[in-house]
C-alpha cells in the first residue's frame, strides 16, 4: 500500500497519481458514463477506478502506456459492476451529488435515423461491441486497446479488424449500406441522412 512507503517515495507516488488523475479523470468518467448510462453508478465506479490505481501506483506503466492502463482498470471495475458487484464508494459522495445533473443521451434519441444501425450494433457479441467502442468512442488505437485488454498488440489489431468486419457484414445483411467500399461516407440507411450519422460528435 502506498501509505506504507517512506515519505520521499510516497511524495513521488502522490505526484504520479495526481498527474494520472489530471490526465485521465475526464476520459475515464466519460467512458464509464457511456458504458453504464448511469451517472449515479459512474461516480462510485470512477472512485473505485482511481482507488485501485492508487493502490497499484507502483505498477502503472510509464509513458503513453499509463493512460490506456487506467482504462484497463476501468474495464475491470466495469466488468465487476456488470457481474452484479455493487458498492458505494464513500469517497465519491460529493461527486455523486455533482453527477446527478449529468445526462447521457443514447444516439437514437437525438437521431432516430440511427435506430437501425444501433440495433445491429447491439446485436453484436459484447466483445465486439467493447473493442469497437474503445476505438470509435474512446478514440484508442490498437496499441492502446492492447494495453486495456491486456493482450498483445497484434491480437488487439486482429480482434479489432474482425469486429469491424462482423459489424460491416451485419449492417449489409440488415440492408444498411456501409462506406467500406467507397470510404466516402459512413453508413447511409437513407443517403440524405449520412451527415446526421456523423454529426453526432458535437
Amino acid at each position: 500500500m502506498p501509505r506504507q512507503h517512506p515519505a520521499r517515495s510516497r511524495e513521488r507516488s502522490v505526484a504520479r497519481f495526481e498527474e494520472l488523475y489530471e490526465s485521465a479523470f475526464g476520459d475515464v468518467l466519460g467512458y464509464l458514463l457511456r458504458r453504464t448510462e448511469d451517472p449515479d453508478h459512474a461516480a462510485d465506479l470512477v472512485a473505485d477506478v482511481f482507488t485501485a490505481v492508487w493502490a497499484r501506483i507502483d505498477d502503472v506503466p510509464s509513458g503513453d502506456q499509463a493512460r490506456p492502463w487506467v482504462f484497463g482498470v476501468a474495464r475491470n471495475v466495469l466488468a465487476n459492476h456488470r457481474r452484479g458487484a455493487r458498492r458505494r464508494n464513500a469517497l465519491a459522495a460529493r461527486l455523486r451529488a455533482d453527477l446527478s445533473g449529468v445526462t447521457v443521451t443514447p444516439p437514437e434519441e437525438r437521431d432516430s435515423g440511427l435506430g437501425e444501425v444501433g440495433k445491429v450494433f447491439r446485436a453484436l457479441p459484447e466483445r465486439d461491441r467493447e473493442i469497437l467502442s474503445l476505438a470509435g468512442w474512446e478514440q484508442l488505437d490498437a496499441g492502446q486497446i492492447a494495453v486495456v485488454l491486456g493482450c498483445a498488440r497484434g491480437t488487439a489489431r486482429v480482434r479489432l479488424h474482425r469486429a469491424r468486419g462482423r459489424f460491416a457484414r451485419a449492417l449489409r445483411k440488415a440492408g444498411l449500406e456501409t462506406g467500406t467500399r467507397t470510404s466516402s461516407s459512413a453508413v447511409t440507411p437513407h443517403p440524405q441522412r449520412s451527415t446526421s450519422l456523423r454529426g453526432a460528435d458535437r
Binding site: 489530471e22 469517497l91 451529488a97
Partner: protein, 341 residues
Amino acid sequence: MNHDPIDRVVAGLRPEVDASHQLDPAAPAARELRSLITTQSQETTMALSPRRKRLILAAPVAAALAVGGVAATALLAPADDGGSVLPVGPEPAAADVLDVSVEEGVVVAEVLDPTADAEAYAAEFAEHGLDVTLRFVPASPTVVGNLVYLDGNMAGEGTDERDVEIVTSPGECTSQGGGCPVGVRIPEDYGNPVEVVFGREPGEGELYESVNAATAPGEALEGMEPVGMTVGELRDALAGIDQEIAAFRKPVQEPCDGSANGTDAPDADGEPASTDSEEDEPRDRPSRGPNDPPEASGDGVCGRMVELTEDEVGDGDVVAEVSLYAPGEVSVIVEGETELF
C-alpha cells in the same frame, strides 16, 4: 485516428454525455475525490449516526500477556444517556479517538469519535504493537455491530504465522445457528497488518454493503419464501411489508471471450464456431496475415448478469433470488436462460 469507415459508424453511436464541469478533474468534487484517495482510501469517514449507537472496543491486555492475545470486539449499546455497558476504570489517558482504560486486566477502548479516520484508530492500536485498519460499512439490521470482514494479512506479505481469531458472542446470528461474529482476537505484537470491518447502520440514502440473507430472522423478509414466486406475487407480498424492488437482474448466456462454447476447437476460419454461427453469407474480410497471432482464449465465463428495466420484467417471471439492497429496498434476480453463477 478514425480513418476506418466502420469506426466512424461506431463513433456515430456514441452516447452523448451532457456534462460540462463534471468531467473536469479540477472541479471541486473531482479535486476532493483525488485528495481523499491519496489521504484515506478508507470508509471510516462515513456517518455512523453516533447519537444512536456507540461502539466499544474491548481489549483484554493483561489477559493478553497471559494468553498472548489482544481482542477487539465491537459492542453496541444505547448511548443517549452517556452511560456505558462496560466497566470503565480509572481516568483514561487523554485520547481523542479511543478512550482507553484498564480494569481487571482488561483494556476497555471506547470509540469516542466514530467518524475519525483510520489513521487515528491505527495509532491507538499501534500502542499495543498492532497494525490494525478499522473500517465500518453500511449493513443490514442483523449485521450492524458484527464483524463483516477480517483480513489477518492485509498486504499478503506478512510472515507472522499466528492466527487472528474471530470472537463470537453467544446467541444465534446466522441461519446455521452460529454465534455472532463480534470481534477479533489478535496476538499481541502480531506482525502482520490486519484489516477489520464492522457493519454499521446505513446513513441516509446509503446502500447496504454487507447483508444477511433477506429472509433471516430480524431482516426485512423474515418468514417469507420469495424464491419461486412470480414477480407479481412478490410485489404483492412486499407491498405488505413496506419494501420496494430497487433493481431486477437476470442471468444471460453469452459467448465466452475467445472460446465461445467451452471448446477450443475453432471453425474453418480460425474463429470459435459460435461467433459466426448465425451468418451464412460469404465472408469477405481480408485473410489473416501470416504473422497475426491467434486470438487469445478467454477465461471461460459464459454468462453474465444483466440489469433489467421495469418494462422488461413481466409479472409472470419467476423469482430466483431476493437480496437486501438498502433500507426498504431489495434487489431481485429473476430466472433467466441460464443457471445462476
